[in-house]
Symmetry: C2
Subunit: 930 residues, 2 copies
């Protein structure tokens, strides 16, 4: 039996049978668009009749040297007859003409790559006939001139330009802007001119035989599969080249034949709010492009309900059926041709984040999808939207129109922030106290001693720094919208102003910073705050909790963060960075005294002052977490971070020297000498602490070993806080975590200190405190020697920021500015490894450390506490390798809960199907039709 | 049968039989000293008779609650009888007394941990008798007082102090310095006082019964095994605690009974030069300690030959026999008691590096050892000695006596250097040209733009930096003696002086820097240059070449280095660092112009100027290596290294501003404004290039990708140089090596550039140039993704400096100063991982990369080119994992050749035995007897 090349839209069953019941095969045979049209037809939806020429026919044509395969011409004739029978029209018959469209449609959506020819079947005679039938020659001439141009360009390969030149000349002669304003007479002449252009370029007349038109159009669509543009697209999208395209031939319908015709678009639910009510727009006597272009004022679909209630009811019925069938909100195109409703296309509709959540949850209560499916219908990014005020799109558009757009940097912490520019942290704090206006802190980059300024600011903008720079990390941690590395922003600190290109912005001027997109605007942009206590989101996340296997913990350094994270569903603190506690304004001077100490006793005095403060920090955290695990990392950063910047100090000393030269009286001289002396002492210490590569320097466990009094104070504070909790009747669960470990001996050494202090502080109540001792895995060597480390460590926490830095050998503070963006642009790297965990490198280390750790200590607790802990792709990796938890900043906890559930649902071997048991094999997302 | 506790020195065969013929067991049973004495006795060497109480007896004593095991007391009596019979003397008989010593001796040498009691058997009666026999009461009283003190301290546990106080008082009363100058009368009274001290402390009289003395002494030696000091030593040396110690009881002989007695020490060859002639010293009428202490002027052994030719001949015979038996140069102690020669001890003798080489080679020609054994008799460090002038030990001792020792830093590049202090590189260059004196460059640390100063200096001293700091690397590279990280050295650059503690050293003052030990001296120290063209060394290294499987290549950036390395036996250049070529005084300005370029064309102009210079660099290298592989690494360091230091520029701008304030006339103002302008422009660029962690920044392949014109120039220069070589009829073999790779895409991208330029430059001669393309493996990710990299790379070169930095997360520039020394001191780390490759961490990465690389590309060439390439332990690792070559600095090539041979010989599964076939089971290194 010879191959069947064509399936009518009403022949889905036959195609399915041919494909052994596999929907994927059907998609392959008919293409997405063809399968979709056939699917709608089978549902009884009024789809203009037509047929699909299979991808096999395409491949046979291309393989056979661009000759139509045997039997195809005959099958086209037969299929066309069938369409004629259904439409009661005849292809090429001037008395009752059928016009058809010819569209490509491959298995995978290739938007913009598809070739289309409309209005096939028109020639001079048919034009005359149709003009009479519709009593509207202008309308038919318009179709005709479109056919000649489209056919000329797509099928015959004539450039578009000569056609457009003619149209332009006519528009000019009439003094109008759009082709729809041209007169019938103009069109008459345009058709003539177009035929001439065609002949001049093609060397033959425009084919007047409709069958010739159709055959040539089909061949052109076939050939377009191997066009340069399509091949390049497939290359990029990793679509195999041997799939071929199907060709869909479909009867044309027209929404622009008078007042009983119309075209419109509806969405089955409210795409903005998610409310379960059909919404949409339409236009009487119009074509699809009129609705989309916004040239004419559309009516809401409510008007259709009032004016054509029966058609509306029909549309509503179809919409409901399609939503149930495709099991998601549908975006439907329809055309009413002289009172007859036709549906041209349906696809899953785009929606806002809020709508996505509500729709997913309500589709479950409507019995359309399962809870598991609902969990896959919302992206983690959509959840993120709920957590930050966002700029109003319209307001941003207006700002751009007004020329207030300044630049775009790295969008490191989402949300929109509006405020007045403050160029240093102290000023930000002062203005936040004194003035009504919110503040945006603008810095070249931020350091830990800018944190107090960041905390009081509405948002942060820096001119340097990367995606995991200090500014980015702290901003995300505290949910402050932030844009960093905006290189076009030049700071002039002495002049107290910034410039962006030629725009000068003085301190105190208003700017708006969009942390979601990275854009920066002059002046204000309106924001709106999505509702976090959204009932639908709450429901969705509860379902996520049922599914996920990863626990979600949080990175929190203070009770407010801990409480917020706890409210968002965090089940423990995976990382309390004690350094942040040291930057408190009241404490920094003590910390600096500790660093500047010239004797052990001086250092101990400072540490003794810090002890009660640390203790109360920990008490507050323990209280907030209500008996959950609180993992406290001993001091990590290099000490110079607690001291002023070296360059600033150099500048200050020379400045003081200059002032000294000019000083008038003795008192002033004395004061200046004293200040100079202190500054130089500080500078000496900063220079002594200077390291070429502080990231690889004296920090983490190395600090703890070289300055043993420092960790002792911290450990003591932890156990004293635990004792206070015991006395309050609570059950403290501290975890003591060693940072930057690279050798098991480091852990062994500090374990002895921890146990000794625990015994000293807790005495006979030691058994009541369930404390654990563990380590960060953040140097490659820690990962490699994980088996040894697990002999001592009771838990591992993968610090993927540092691990990524060291595995790649890239500094997160510099890389994005220096070359990482170039790498991404050039395609040397696909993803920024600081955003998404690098599976091939860093991931290999983590995976092997997990195995080695479990081998040495079965049941060892393992989590990830780097920035990746809030990244969905990285969370999927954590799920895959069987970590116990991820720990992320409080505002990312809800995101992580959803992502962890999705990770389970997306497991290749998942037994938890996201599909309903009753779904049949026609299930599939409606293909995107360009 | 009950256990036998005692073996006479003449009962080695019985002990051996008891041990089933295993020498190791014999050592365990009799201890090293006992076995050695028995071994000498069996050889017919005249050893004073005696016996060994076994380690088993010791363990039985210790386990049995400090009671002598059954039968031991009887066995001691029997053994003593045998000694009495041999010596014709009787223990405790005043008429003919036998005195014995009692010494511990365990399986492993524990120097200084061993308890010894001499002169056992003396009491008042025996003293009187012996005084008569020897006709020398003073001599016997001296033995007696020594016995009481030694017995009191060792056996009874009396502190040494009261005895010493008494001796001191007598010396003072006589106004003499040494006990040997005390009178007989004094000793009479001292013996009385010592007995009183003994009674006062012990609560009983000094035991006058010789058998009591012996029994107590034996018990004391047994108990000393568990003494605190010995246990701690075993802990440190990882010697098991359950071995126990043997006790050797031996007849005393005396070299100080008149003019026919003597004591001396001989070495079977010249320990300084290695010449095959017995050398040594002796003293008539003296004790061993007199020879060693240097109080009396010794005679050379030649005097013995003249004056006691028969005894000399006897000694020579014994020495020869012992050397043959122990198959190495022996260091022998002898005593002549009234004309009778006794040998007391023999052991392998210490020797200088030169002697070690000559002796090893000559022992082979003497038929004593095999070539393979000879290769294991010389340490790589001894070879290193040949390559650098060394300070004279005596001269150093004198300098210390004169208070000229200043401080000790890190000994990073061996050899002694003497010169005048220059505090900057430019001055060093000027002085090297203008002045006669050699220069020592003293800097806080060095940067690449100090290199020209280092090259002209005799040595380098820095106050900061670690073992692999820039200064250390460059110094080793160029064989310049260097001490770095000498923290006590304070530089005062403005004052042009340095201080070390209170010592002030002005620029131009002489200092001496010992790169072998790290010591720094004020003034000059004498040096001597060992002979590198040493025939014996040449022979030894030729044998090494026959054995080794690793090829030895060199790291060389200029033709002189290449030629030197080639002469030393390097078989290729494994690493040519192109950055060193950029620091040439003539080129640096062009390089800076390239970096400061404000447009592409400006940059290209600078690169065009560099091209012919680079080309001639490569031509020179190709010529020097005569057709061997020359692997050229594209530019690696961050660009800021080619610009001045940021702090210096800040200081300069402020300095210029101050001068501007004071400036008088307009011309001066204009000049200053111009200079300020240029300085600020430079500062801006330096600040723009500033990175927080340059080690992890924009360098290596990243530079090549971000500034593609730069590698293009270098690649072009390589191929143009190759073409010139072709024209000269040579066969150039360039390797193009990509630094700091972390992703395969980087390699793919640059491979295309290399191949394109090769085609462009070489045209149809492309097949004549055997060029290879490869990569450094120096980021952990490169090691992890080695399989992917090997798809493109034709060779791997492990850059273990960077790999160590990133795997541990430690900066080699900072770590030693900041905490690594603390770590080593505290025992947190056993070795400095920058000295000796870390097998457990870095080694795991390398090993897996080797396997993955071979899997992807069988036969892929792999080498190591970090500093570890010259470290013997690391070379052994390279041999173990099957690398093809190691590449090290030229001066380390001979060391690497030997180390590579030793690696083969030391392989656990090695079939190449280092022992001669004819050696019997008594073979073993003579135990060290303290």
């Amino acid at each position: 039996m010879s191959t069947r090349w064509i399936y009518g839209f009403n022949a889905l069953d036959a195609a399915t049978e041919r494909c052994g019941g596999e929907w994927d095969e059907v998609l392959g045979l008919l293409g997405g668009k063809g399968a979709n049209l056939a699917d709608m037809t089978r549902l009884g939806i009024p789809v203009p009749p037509g047929f699909t020429i299979t991808t096999e026919a395409c491949n046979a044509y291309l393989d056979g040297g661009h000759v139509l395969p045997d039997g195809l011409a005959d099958e086209i004739s037969v299929a066309l007859k069938s369409v004629e029978a259904e439409t009661n029209k005849t292809f090429g018959d001037p008395a009752n003409p059928l016009l058809v469209s010819c569209r490509s449609g491959s298995k995978f959506s290739m938007p913009g790559m598809m070739d289309t020819v409309l209005n096939l079947g028109l020639n001079d005679d048919v034009t005359d006939g149709m003009a009479k039938i519709f009593d509207n020659r202008r309308f038919v001439l318009d179709l005709y001139r479109r056919l000649i141009q489209m056919f000329g360009v797509v099928v015959t390969g004539i450039p578009d330009e000569p056609f457009e030149v003619v149209l332009g000349a006519f528009r000019e002669s009439r003094g109008v802007n759009s082709d729809s304003e041209l007169f019938e007479d103009d069109l008459e002449r345009i058709v003539r001119r177009f035929k001439e252009i065609y002949r001049d370029h093609a060397g033959r007349d425009f084919p007047s035989d409709p069958m010739d038109q159709l055959t040539l159009a089909v061949q052109a669509v076939f050939a377009s599969w191997n066009g340069k543009r399509a091949a390049a697209y497939r290359e990029a999208a990793e679509i195999p080249h041997n799939l071929g395209t199907a060709v869909n031939v479909q009867a044309m319908v027209f929404g622009n034949i008078g007042q009983t015709s119309a075209t419109g678009v509806v969405v089955t639910r409210n795409a903005t709010t998610g409310a379960p009510k059909m919404t949409g727009d339409f236009l009487i006597n119009s074509q699809g492009e009129d609705v989309v272009s916004g040239v004419r004022q559309t009516s809401t679909i409510e008007v259709l309900r009032r004016e054509m209630p029966e058609l509306y009811a029909q549309l509503e019925r179809h919409a409901e059926m399609l939503e149930r069938h495709y099991r998601d909100m549908q975006d439907i195109e329809f055309t009413i041709e002289r009172g007859k409703m036709w549906l041209l296309q349906t696809r899953n509709g785009k929606r806002t984040a809020q709508a996505a959540v509500r729709i997913a949850v309500e589709l479950v209560s409507d019995g359309v999808i399962t809870k598991h499916e609902a969990l896959t219908r919302v992206t983690p990014r959509q959840v993120e939207f709920f957590l930050h005020p966002q700029f109003d799109t319209e307001s941003k558009r207006r700002a751009k129109d007004e020329g207030r757009y300044l630049t775009t940097g790295l969008n490191v912490s989402p949300g929109g922030a509006v405020g007045i520019v403050a160029l240093d942290a102290d000023l930000a704090v002062r203005w936040a106290g004194e003035r009504e206006e919110p503040v945006i802190l603008v810095r070249p980059e931020t350091k830990p001693d800018d944190v107090h300024g960041m905390l009081v600011s509405a948002g942060v903008l820096t001119s340097s720094g990367g995606r995991t720079s200090h500014a980015a990390l702290v901003a995300r941690q505290f949910g402050k919208p932030a844009v960093v590395g905006a290189q076009e922003v030049d700071l002039h600190l002495e002049a107290r102003l910034i410039t962006v290109g030629s725009t000068v912005i003085n301190e105190g001027d208003w700017i708006s910073v969009d942390g979601t997109t990275g854009e920066v605007f002059l002046g204000t942009i309106e924001t709106s705050l999505p509702e976090i206590d959204d009932a639908w989101l709450t429901a969705l996340l509860a379902w996520a909790d049922e599914v996920r296997e990863l626990d979600v913990w949080t990175n929190a350094d203070n009770p407010d963060d801990a409480a917020l994270a706890f409210k968002f569903g965090a089940n423990g603190i995976g990382l309390c960075r004690t350094e942040h506690m040291f930057f408190d304004t009241a404490r920094l001077p003590i910390v600096q005294r500790m660093i500047m100490a010239s004797s052990d006793s001086e250092r101990l005095t400072a540490l003794d002052e810090l002890l009660p403060l640390q203790r109360s920090d920990f008490v507050a955290l323990f209280r907030a977490m209500e008996g959950r695990r609180v993992i406290i990392r001993l001091l990590d950063p290099p000490l110079h971070e607690f001291l002023p910047n070296e360059g600033d100090l150099i500048r200050k000393t020379t400045d003081l020297k200059i002032r000294l030269m000019k000083a008038g009286d003795l008192a002033e001289v004395n004061a200046l000498v004293k200040e100079l002396d202190e500054t130089e002492r500080l500078l000496n210490r900063v220079e002594a602490l200077h390291e070429s590569n502080p990231m690889l320097g004296l920090r983490g466990v190395r600090l703890a070993i070289v300055i043993p009094d420092l960790p002792k104070m911290q450990i003591k504070a932890i156990f004293e806080a635990s004792l206070i909790m015991l006395e309050e009747g609570a059950e403290p669960k501290p975890g003591i975590m060693i940072p930057l470990t690279s050798d098991a001996a480091e852990l062994v050494r500090l374990k002895a200190v921890v146990d000794r202090i625990a015994t000293e502080v807790l005495g006979d109540r030691i058994d009541e405190v369930d404390y654990e001792y563990g380590t960060m895995i953040e140097t490659p060597r820690a990962a490699i020697t994980a088996r040894d480390l697990a002999e001592t460590a009771e838990f591992f926490s993968f610090g993927t920021n540092d691990l990524t830095q060291m595995t790649y050998g890239i500094s997160r503070d510099d890389a994005e500015r220096a070359y990482l963006l170039d790498y991404l642009k050039l395609g040397v790297l696909e993803h920024n490894p600081f955003d998404t965990l690098d599976r091939e490198g860093v991931g290999v280390l983590i995976r092997s450390a997990v195995e080695a750790g479990r081998a040495a200590r079965p049941g060892i607790q393992m989590g990830l506490c780097g920035e990746h802990g809030g990244d969905p792709a990285s969370i999927a990796f954590c799920d895959e390798i069987g970590l116990d938890y991820v720990s992320c900043s409080p505002l990312r906890v809800p995101i992580a809960r959803l992502a962890a559930a999705q990770a389970v649902l997306n497991r290749p071997e998942s037994f938890i199907s996201t599909a309903d048991p009753h779904t049949d094999m026609t299930e599939g997302v409606a293909a995107d039709t360009a």
